[in-house]
Subunit: 716 residues, 2 copies
């Protein structure tokens, strides 16, 4: 029986979406709690919706302009009849829609989780996990649906010109960057502002309803950690799949393939294989997720880990079966399956590494707690150096993954270098195929964080708080491990995309006969060698971008947080009876401040991320642009690990002290740790995660505009 694998991919996507709908009905059928809980949850939902609609209203005209530019400067000259522009619009629209659907559910799940917590841990975990799974399934479902339908619609164009797929990725990247930047600023402006006045000055607990910024803080968890992370991982999924598809397409266009490969390229198997990995991951994620159920008696963290392991194993089994079927037993299937194993193992290992550096069960975080005894300075030095240190094992995993997956493809294909790189892309795609499972585990974090807030604000009794507190702490760790997953996948995807970029540069040079312009003999290829000063200059510019971008975001949070601090102080001062609970704080005003700041601060980093690669490309040429792409990853991946892990570690160092260690709450040690947490907040939730998006925007915009860059570059 002949299987149409592109239809299989569509089928997999539909399975994810149908499962998401089932989960939505399941979640909505749960008890939403007391009227007070529903009122709070409604306010959060309203704030989140208001933010998202303002955000989308800002993005929409930008997206239209970019789409028009792509159509005019790329599709028309290339004769690709709008493929790239359509891809851009589809990629952007699906990302926005996935974020909307996912967030619409997470905001509805939190009051239900708080309600379920009354019945115990298993119930609360199950409800919040299912809410998170809606986001996970929406992300992979819409991601794979877009990819496979786009492939079916433009199969001919893509086979002849694989890079036309890149528009889809650029659309996803642009949305992700907007969401990451503004979501990150929103959530931390509210959080830092609420903490600095509430906890530090007024000495009221977290999530206290008397704090005017409390609703904004809860909205922030949804727009930053749910919608932002969703858009980020959606982008990773789509961009990685596209990188693998493009590389597969390039291998197929290669005229000098080893004999062994010739039989498998005829029917686009190398293009289809990455999409089938996505299908396997969806099924694995769904089945593994079923392990999380109400009757569960084990520790929640252990249960979540086991659920992920089940998903991983099932995914690998399906990977193997689909690979055998697709490649019809060609030996290359075993080598590529080896790469898929590498990708899945990377997920497991990198989660362990992030867990080690950010959970208070291990020495690094305990050391930060200990260092808080001598004050905020030593707390901070310990936290920051822990972040720096965590980059090391992460880098080892990255390097080993690149080398092993490369050599699997290289030797498996009889020494074809491009197949080696394709094999690395396959490992990355296998890694990303677990996105459904990872997002379910990640999104349950902000849901429980919100549930915790609702429980506090609605004054639910103690045993509910015990359940939601424990889930909240676990959420901190899973958020950190998801970020490590996102950083690692961005780095691996960038390596694949660079290869596609370089191939496309040379194809364009050949197509337009620009050999003389680039100082090449006819038929010679342009090399991106480190001895070329253009490459070095590109590497430096690229290496700078994550630093400058982070600087901007941290400062933006600072500016917004100061506005929030002043507003909260004003309300405490001016609203009579607010501290006694008789006067009602003006929550909406704080929500407005966060929303306005997040939208306002969007322009500068977006312009930086979009204009730098174009300026470098058109001025200094494709070789410098190639250097920029790699440079941004080389410095960005380590800066991202440093920022996200140090922030998470400092957060949990505070939480460890709150369990009673080193004197517990109310001591100077705890106050020092709260300071450290405040510093770590924009590190881990704004600047660190936004670096991923930056790296991917740089990659996708470069590959979309590569033809124009090659033709019009000035000083090459």
């Amino acid at each position: 029986m002949a299987i149409d694998y592109s239809l299989l991919a569509v089928g997999g996507a539909l399975v994810a979406l149908v499962y998401a709908v089932i989960l939505i009905f399941n979640v909505r059928s749960q008890n939403a709690g007391t009227p007070k809980m529903q009122e709070i949850s409604g306010a959060v939902r309203e704030g989140a919706n208001a933010f998202l609609s303002r955000e989308y209203k800002v993005i929409a005209p930008v997206a239209v302009i970019v789409a028009a530019a792509i159509y005019l400067f790329i599709d028309i000259p290339l004769g690709t009849g709008g493929t790239t522009a359509v891809g851009f619009v589809v990629g952007a629209a699906l990302s926005a829609f996935a974020g909307y659907v996912g967030m619409a559910i997470t905001v509805r799940t939190s009051s239900r989780t708080a309600e379920a917590a009354k019945s115990g841990m298993g119930d609360a975990l199950t409800v919040s996990f299912r809410g998170g799974s809606v986001m996970g399934m929406a992300v992979v479902g819409f991601g794979l649906l877009g990819l496979s339908l786009f492939y079916i619609a433009y199969q001919g164009t893509i086979t002849a010109n694989p890079v036309t797929m890149a528009g889809l990725g650029f659309g996803a990247s642009l949305i992700a960057m907007f969401m990451r930047v503004s979501g990150g600023i929103y959530t931390k402006a509210a959080d830092v502002g609420a903490d600095l006045v509430g906890k530090v000055e007024a000495n009221i607990p977290e999530d206290d309803p008397r704090n005017p910024a409390v609703i904004a803080d809860n909205v922030g968890d949804n727009v930053g950690d749910c919608a932002g992370m969703g858009a980020d991982v959606y982008e990773s999924f789509v961009v990685t799949a596209i990188a693998a598809v493009i590389l597969g397409g390039l291998v197929q266009l290669d005229k000098s393939l080893p004999a062994q490969l010739l039989s498998v390229v005829s029917a686009n198997q190398l293009i289809l294989y990455p999409l089938t990995l996505g299908v396997a991951g969806i099924i694995g994620s769904i089945l593994g997720g079923l392990y999380i159920r109400r009757s569960l008696k084990s520790k929640p963290m252990a249960a979540l880990n086991l659920s992920l392991m089940i998903s991983a194993v099932i995914t690998l089994v399906i990977d193997y079966l689909i690979g055998q079927s697709l490649f019809g037993g060609n030996p290359i299937s075993y080598w590529l399956f080896g790469s898929a194993v590498v990708g899945i193992v990377v997920v497991i290992v990198i989660e362990r590494v992030a867990d080690y550096f950010t959970s208070y069960l291990f020495p690094p975080v305990r050391h930060i707690s200990e260092a808080s005894q001598t004050g905020a300075a030593t707390n901070f030095l310990a936290g920051f150096s822990t972040g720096l240190e965590s980059a090391a094992p992460s880098a080892v995993v990255l390097v080993v993954a690149i080398l092993v997956s490369y050599y699997l493809g290289y030797y498996g294909s009889g020494h074809d270098m491009l197949m080696g790189v394709y094999s690395t892309a396959v490992a990355t795609m296998a890694m990303l195929s677990l996105t459904g499972a990872i997002m379910s585990i990640d999104s349950f974090g902000p849901i429980t964080d919100n549930a915790n807030g609702i429980a506090e604000m609605a004054g639910l009794e103690g045993n509910v708080r015990v359940v939601t507190d424990e889930l909240d702490a676990i959420g901190n760790t899973t958020k950190a491990t998801t970020k490590a997953f996102a950083v690692m996948s961005a780095a691996l995807a960038a390596v694949s995309i660079f290869e596609a970029f370089q191939s496309e540069v040379n194809r364009q040079i050949s197509l337009h006969n620009l050999f003389a312009k680039y100082g090449l003999a006819p038929g010679q290829t342009l090399s991106f060698t480190l001895s070329d000063p253009h490459v070095i200059v590109g590497l430096f510019i690229g290496g700078l971008l994550p630093f400058y971008f982070s600087s901007f975001l941290i400062q933006a949070v600072g500016r917004a947080a100061i506005k929030m601090v002043n507003e909260v102080r004003r309300q405490f001062r001016e609203i009579p009876g607010i501290m006694e609970g008789t006067g009602k704080p003006d929550y909406a005003k704080c929500v407005d401040i966060s929303t306005a700041a997040a939208i306002k601060e969007l322009a500068a980093p977006a312009i930086l991320a979009v204009s730098t690669p174009l300026a470098v490309g058109f001025l200094l040429g494709p070789v410098a642009l190639g250097g920029l792409l790699i440079g941004s990853v080389v410095s960005g991946v380590f800066l991202a690990f440093t920022l996200t892990n140090s922030g998470a570690a400092m957060d949990n160092a505070k939480k460890y002290i709150e369990t009673g260690a080193f004197g517990g709450k109310g001591t100077p040690t705890h106050a020092a740790a709260v300071m450290g947490d405040t510093v770590g907040d924009p590190f881990k939730d704004t600047a660190g995660p936004a670096i991923n998006s930056l790296i991917k925007v740089l990659n996708t915009i470069s590959i979309v505009f590569v033809s124009a860059v090659v033709i019009y570059a000035l000083f090459v």
Copy 2:
């Protein structure tokens, strides 16, 4: 008249050394102050000498082993008869000796500066500047002497095999890294320890004689900021000269030179030119330095800036004249002079940039002071993001310098790429030729810092403190600008060294006929292209190293500072009458703690820096090693700028508050800024500066061992 330019270089070196001797006599003839001042100064001198002799005792056997390894594995197989090993020993010995001489004078100058401050600003500035100039002249004098004598002794070997010069650079690098790491840990363990207990807990002022760690703190200024910075800049000078000499030699060996160049390569002009730039810089530095004199009435910072400008202009005039003479009017002399101008302009611009981000006369530092009003967390976020931001203009300067100097050489030579890179090396050498002037300005900082301490401890009256306080604040800024100079030169030198490395790799492949091993056709050259996963993996490993290295150093300071804190607390508790000034603190114990910690923490980072490039080279081959070299610069230069500038900015934000801004001393705002300063201390004085040394050790060890790596690499 035929000039022997190598003898000219020897002459220039001797001029520097003779001038240093004159300055030594001049300084020693000054009044060393009251017996109390001499007693304190004697204790500091004793501590500094004890540290240096223990340090050298640890380094000596390591240096012997490394020299033996170089002789056995490099000189014997290459048939270079010990040239590389001898170079290593000479480079290391001269670096150690220059550091010793310079520090011997700085420790003697501080009490004399305090004494001179009684007569006013002009006197104090002149004495401290002359003391600093001894260090400056010792560094360039010994540096140029070693280079020129080595060239004269081994002229034949070097012309045939330019890379044999590299041993000299590796010797300098190894000493510099040891001095930077241990000096950095020493000075900050003492400083942080003294501040945390003295200023924060016991509430006594800086440099109070009741603080047991006060002598150790003053010793630290000398061993970290004088000896450490001296070794660092000595290394930059030597390594940059060597890179330029090697590239000049490689151009001369090039068989396909443009006709215009053939006439200038016959007599080694391209090898000699960088050395003559060093001579010009020495004369310019001496003459410019004469501007600083007792009768000076202008503001000290303005005077120092003007002195530097005079040095720069004189140096350029001499550069032009020597270039005309050396190249006999060949047009290439104008192009290369253009590159020298680029190098000098970079010095001026980068000093302005560092000044802008670290002086409290400008908005960034004032913003940090302002942010201190909301506590240590916002102080720290503002300081760190300022550091991140400062990387941007620095990167622009770097990129423009590389491109402009490259194109000057490239077009000037009729499109020879290697001449383009040589031209960048010329710009770097012109930059470094101002080392004498820069070091004079830098070393006066720790001298006045010590003078300030002596004035405080000896109870000199108020107007002395006014003078030494102002000079101390200026010293903070000049220290920051010198670090920017060191980072920038390390980055530029690394670009040149990479080119030499790559040429040498291919020469070795050809020499040993290893084309098949590297998958090359006979005669083909190995390319370091970004599409090769080995390059990518090398870039990631290299990119990681500065992060991991920084993490280690910050943690080492933390460990040592905690020991110091406990000792100071113990003395306050156990020594009767210590707080009343009747009991004498045990200064020697604190000196011992810093010394022991600095020596003990040396091994791990040294092993990391030396073993990683060798492991990558022998395991993954020269291509991965090349990637590592560039990767370490791409991430390292930005991390170094971030750490050094954020630390200096936070220090000066504290100083700005101490001038009375935002409430001044004794307010919570000031306490927050003190916290920020404590965090910034190991950033700016330990981790940040050590990254330079790391980058250069990686470079020099790789180029020394390149032949062995090419022959024995396993997985290439």
